[in-house]
């Protein structure tokens, strides 16, 4: 890199800065800083003539570093950077600071102090600018193909959207048939329409109508171009990078040729093996060769490997009129290269047998909502009648128990959010089929937060369904007359009730599907504490993960009703499409780099990176070094704040740049107060400083702000350096610990600050000289307040005198 030639542009247009700051002094100060070749002043520099002046100076004066003091840098910077880039200078060689909101406004009543601080700020910007390096734009290829994992309502809709948008879509379902949990639910609330009804593809050519929704089996779903469905298949490995993931899939044999099977059912008729039917939650038996319900995809029988006697029997082989049964089929392994992956693995019912007081699994007439739904379904095990599994007689007295395994710290603390509505739906379906049935729902709270849901609840009450507010303490069984007795205290009537029932239905909690953990680790994505997949950000990026190119939808992130799952599915499709639409991923080089020479393979950094951007690569025989993927790195610097060898640096925030900046900020005081370095993250921390200025709040000018990408980059030695450089106090200002823009940075900084306090104590330095504050943008008032109280606190201490140097 050439010798730095810095141009400094001072905008005097700020309402306060023009009044408060001594621009003559600032300009002559800047002129005297080494490597500054030009200082210009104007009303504004971010547009019009000001901007032209910068461009012109870059060209004619051959500036290779540009420092601009301008208002609202978070807005003006965009313009300045673009213009400078057009003028031929790398945009990363520009540094923009804010003398208005960060200096003139908060210190407007102390002009001399404000000017002194402005000098320090200018010097810091110049020193940093001198050390900046040009960064390039990076491009990575991205395949226009997508893998969707999970063939339930969410996965199918995402797959359909994406295939119709022209992406090559592979839909992988672990079960032999599509449909997922939703298809077993029979009906959906609050519309009570069939669960197998899905959004009809726009390419539907088969039916005479073009309505927007259709049953899965007549929707033409499977005929959509670019969509390939792999049932009976699971993911066994995922490698590669965003834009090109290499996925290994194991497709279990069906033992029935998909092309030849004509669904005549002759095979099932002759099959001698009967096993409990999982699809119907064991309410009936099925044969070893079977199909779930007639309307399924693929419309092909399947052999249950665990049950079939294979060549010992061969009855089905003999009877099949089309010779479709092939007992020697083998598991196939496939590898696919896809640009992105959408996880739509849904949720499942919690197994309530662990809740001993409800005796599920022990008393046959205690069932779950899903079992009841199977009974209600006319394709189900009872052909639509509601029976007591113990006797197969009609159930006339039914008690629902809500929150089974939900909202209970012993099992799952969360509200599964849809079970109230599911019970209401099932209770009403039962009641409308036979108004004589006595139906009671025991609940803690009925949660009907969706549109139409409260009316649904009212309707249930109108139909004569009874409600008891209380969580049953025990389900007992009277063997004399085979009656179930539900013990519950009704909080409304304050009576202890013993409800007699033929059938008790447990509204069980909803939990992540089996295999979620393994899948998460294969994909390198995180789970929430509840075990569901964790989204990037619940508010803004609900269907994305921190790993680029991996998306989530439907119940995989939390139990959802059908409308929400669908919404989610379309959102995930849009995000995935956006990610791959241009066939390349473009990003800048604001990334971390690890120097091979110094990395000692402690393997700390890979686990601290919130984006899984760091992996280990082999160097020499059995040595490893960590390496950052430029594609996946988001440039937060959390790894930098981890590395005990300083082997990692951010290209745009080198330690040398930060140190130079810090020393400059501490080099001029100009106030009678103790200098404070405020290390602020560029997200909430720095913007809280902005907002305190915008709100015209005052705080003392001894507080000097240094911006870093995320407080996670903080290293304890920087705090010590700050004290050495003359700081009497250090404030670390980051996002809320649960609101960090890089998720883990601010909580990590908090721990570092606590540990640093411990060290300070050992050094004989008051630990109170160091504090962390967690703010959000709108807490400018808090920033001003803590800056003030911190100053007052330090003023009460005797000045720190370090004997070292």
């Amino acid at each position: 890199m050439d010798e730095p030639k810095v141009g400094v542009f001072l905008s005097e247009g700020g309402n306060q800065s023009s009044k408060v700051l001594d621009y003559d002094a600032l300009a002559s100060f800047a002129k005297n800083v080494a490597k500054v070749v030009l200082v210009e002043r104007a009303k504004e520099f971010w547009r019009g003539d000001g901007l032209k002046a910068i461009v012109n100076a870059v060209k004619t004066k051959k500036l290779n570093r540009v420092v601009v003091a301008e208002r609202l840098p978070k807005l003006s910077e965009v313009n300045i950077v673009k213009a400078v880039e057009k003028a031929g200078l790398n945009p990363f060689l520009v540094e923009v600071i804010d003398l208005e909101d960060h200096c003139a406004r908060p210190h407007r009543n102390k002009p001399a102090e404000a000017t002194a601080k402005a000098k320090a700020m200018l010097l810091a910007a110049i020193e940093r600018a001198k050390l900046l390096e040009p960064l390039e734009k990076l491009e990575f290829p991205a395949l226009k193909s997508i893998l969707v994992i999970g063939g339930g309502i969410a996965g199918m809709q995402t797959a359909e959207d994406l295939a119709e948008l022209g992406f090559e879509v592979q839909l992988v379902e672990k079960e032999p048939f599509l449909g997922g949990l939703a298809s077993r639910a029979g009906r959906f609330f609050p519309t009570d329409d069939c669960a197998i009804c899905i959004q009809a593809p726009s390419t539907d050519v088969k039916s005479i109508t073009h309505t927007s929704r259709k049953c899965v089996y007549r929707s033409g779903f499977t005929e959509i171009q670019n969509l390939n469905v792999l049932t009976n298949s699971k993911i066994t490995a995922v490698e590669g990078v965003p834009g090109n993931y290499r996925v290994t899939i194991e497709k279990k044999p069906r033992y029935v040729d998909e092309q030849k099977c004509i669904r005549c059912n002759l095979c099932a008729e002759v099959c001698p093996v009967e096993v409990p039917d999982d699809y119907n939650v064991k309410l009936k038996k099925r044969k070893a060769i079977y199909i779930n319900i007639p309307e399924v995809y693929p419309p092909v029988y399947v052999i249950d490997e665990k049950a079939c006697k294979f060549h010992e029997c061969e009855k089905c082989v003999k009877v099949c009129p089309t010779k479709a049964v092939e007992l020697d089929q083998k598991t196939e392994k496939k590898t696919l290269n896809v640009g992105a992956i959408v996880v739509a693995t849904g949720f499942e019912e919690y197994d309530p047998s662990v809740i001993k007081e409800y005796h599920y699994g022990e008393y046959p007439d205690v069932v779950t909502n899903l079992q009841l739904a199977r009974m209600i379904d006319c394709f189900g095990p009872t052909g639509g009648s509601i029976i007591r599994p113990s006797t197969r007689e009609p159930a006339k007295r039914i008690v629902f128990v809500q929150c089974v395994g939900s909202r209970d710290r012993r099992w799952n603390p969360w509200c599964s959010s849809i079970c109230c509505m599911i019970s209401l739906k099932n209770a009403m379906l039962v009641k409308s089929a036979d108004p004589e049935t006595d139906v009671t729902i025991c609940y803690i709270d009925i949660r009907t937060t969706g549109r139409e849901h409260e009316y649904y609840y009212e309707r249930a009450r109108d139909m004569g369904i009874k409600f008891v507010k209380g969580r049953p303490t025990e389900i007992a069984h009277d063997p004399e007359d085979n009656t179930l007795i539900v013990d519950v205290e009704d909080a409304v009537s304050r009576k202890f009730l013993e409800l007699e029932a033929d059938l008790v239905v447990l509204a069980t909690s909803m939990v992540p599907t089996q295999g979620t953990k393994e899948l998460a680790s294969m994909l390198g994505i995180e789970l929430e504490q509840d075990g569901f997949f964790k989204e990037y950000n619940a508010k803004l990026r609900p269907t994305e993960t921190k790993r680029k190119g991996i998306f989530l939808c439907g119940g995989a992130t939390f139990p959802k009703d059908a409308p929400t799952s669908s919404l989610h599915a379309h959102s995930a499709a849009l995000k995935a499409a956006k990610f791959l639409s241009t066939g390349k991923i473009v990003k800048d080089q604001k990334t971390a780099v690890i120097d091979d020479e110094y990395c000692g393979d402690c393997e700390f950094c890979p686990v601290t990176c919130p984006y899984g951007a760091i992996s280990l690569v082999q160097k020499g025989e059995d040595h490893f070094v960590a390496q950052v993927s430029e594609l996946q790195c988001e440039g937060c610097g959390i790894c930098v704040g981890t590395c005990p060898l300083n082997a990692i640096e951010l290209r745009h925030y080198r330690p040398s740049q930060m140190l130079a900046q810090m020393k400059a900020l501490m080099s001029v005081n100009g106030t009678s107060k103790p200098l404070i370095l405020a290390i602020c993250c560029s997200e909430c921390g720095h913007t809280a400083v902005d907002s305190s200025g915008m709100a015209m709040l005052e705080y003392p000018a001894n507080v000097r702000v240094m911006k870093v990408p995320c407080t996670g980059i903080l290293q304890i030695h920087q705090i010590l350096e700050a004290f050495k450089a003359g700081a009497q106090g250090v404030m670390v200002v980051g996002c809320k610990t649960d609101g960090c823009h890089y998720e883990v940075g601010s909580p990590k900084a908090k721990k570092k600050v606590e540990l640093a306090k411990m060290l300070l104590k050992e050094y004989g330095i008051e630990p109170e000289r160091l504090e962390m504050f967690n703010l959000v943008y709108i807490e400018g008032d808090k920033f001003a307040e803590v800056a003030q109280t911190m100053t007052e606190k330090l003023e009460k201490m005797s000045p720190l005198q370090l004997s070292s140097s």
């Binding site: 000692g600 393997e603 601290t608 082997a647 290293q715 304890i716 050495k724 990590k748 570092k752 004989g764």
Partner: protein
């Protein structure tokens, strides 16, 4: 060919570095055949005045171990610097202050009070503490001044090469001799140890790096193969310069950091604490740290950013 003139010196040190030189074993014979040892207080009877009498830069290489604790240490450091072409800071004390550096948590006054007055085994009714000079009837007795702050060699004089460790690893000592003999030396200011950390040489297996609890070595049942950090035990390995071949972890003792900070690191203690905070899953681990300075700065307090406790 003229033999290479070599000097060894010990300032504030324990003598371990001298032993390490002898630990070179039979190689010492090859070395001795090629060098003349012109000064080595521990082995050869020579006086300071003999060194003073030497011409400047007449010693080819001086291996200097020990920290700068007293005026005498400082004087001889300066003397040997002047007399030597190459000055090597040898061992942790000379490089980083080592355990002697921990005295920087106190100062002369508090150290003297503790050592000469307060320790339970001391009987000192006249409250005598060391003085730099004392008149007795035979004349004036002198003791070198005891400084408030222990310094490293490089904080005192210009150092050419650094070979740290407590003591330095034997293979690196041999290599250092060979480099000097062959004249194939790295650029001035280099360390003669590798640039990596102990982990690079450690055979223990690194697992998930989630620190939920800190335990001391006696509180765990070591499985002899998992990285100490994954067993909740603090190990200085990640923040310590390698070269020793991870000797301690190999015999089931966590690294205590004698190799000193990594080449780019100004503060070994701060470095490991930052790393530790980054992998801590529970803020409560902070309270579980016993003796922070003794753990994180055992060898490097005198060579840290702040170097010592603030003197009141």
């Amino acid at each position: 060919m003229e033999k290479l003139k070599v000097a060894f010196y010990w300032a504030a040190s324990c003598g371990g570095c001298e032993i390490a030189v002898l630990d070179v074993n039979e190689k010492i014979l090859d070395i001795v055949a090629k060098v003349d040892i012109v000064f080595w207080p521990v082995a050869i009877d020579m006086k300071y005045k003999d060194v003073e009498a030497m011409a400047d830069k007449s010693i080819d290489v001086c291996f200097f171990n020990g920290a700068i604790r007293t005026a005498e240490n400082e004087r001889i450091a300066k003397l040997l610097r002047a007399k030597s072409k190459i000055l090597v800071a040898f061992g942790s004390c000379a490089n980083d202050g080592c355990v002697k550096g921990l005295a920087n948590l106190w100062d002369r006054k508090t150290i003297f009070e503790r050592a000469y007055l307060e320790t339970p085994s001391t009987r000192n009714p006249d409250k005598v503490t060391p003085q730099t000079s004392l008149k007795v009837k035979e004349g004036e007795l002198e003791l070198p001044e005891f400084y408030d702050t222990v310094k490293t060699l490089a904080q005192t004089v210009d150092v050419d090469y650094f070979l740290s460790g407590c003591p330095p690893p034997i293979p690196n000592i041999v290599q250092a001799f060979e480099a000097v003999l062959s004249g194939k030396l790295p650029p001035k200011g280099s360390s003669l140890l590798p640039n990596k950390s102990i982990c690079d040489e450690c055979p223990r297996e690194k697992m998930d790096r989630k620190l939920s609890q800190i335990r001391r070595i006696y509180e765990i049942e070591d499985d002899f193969k998992t990285c100490f950090w994954d067993q909740g035990v603090i190990c200085m390995g990640p923040a310590t310069r390698s070269g020793c071949g991870a000797q301690c972890p190999k015999v089931n003792i966590p690294c205590t950091g004698c190799g000193g900070p990594g080449p780019r690191v100004a503060d070994q203690g701060a470095a490991i604490v930052s790393a530790m905070a980054s992998i801590a899953t529970d803020p409560a681990v902070i309270e579980q740290v016993v003796d922070p300075v003794g753990t994180f700065y055992k060898y490097s307090l005198a060579n840290s950013i702040l170097k010592r406790k603030v003197m009141k």
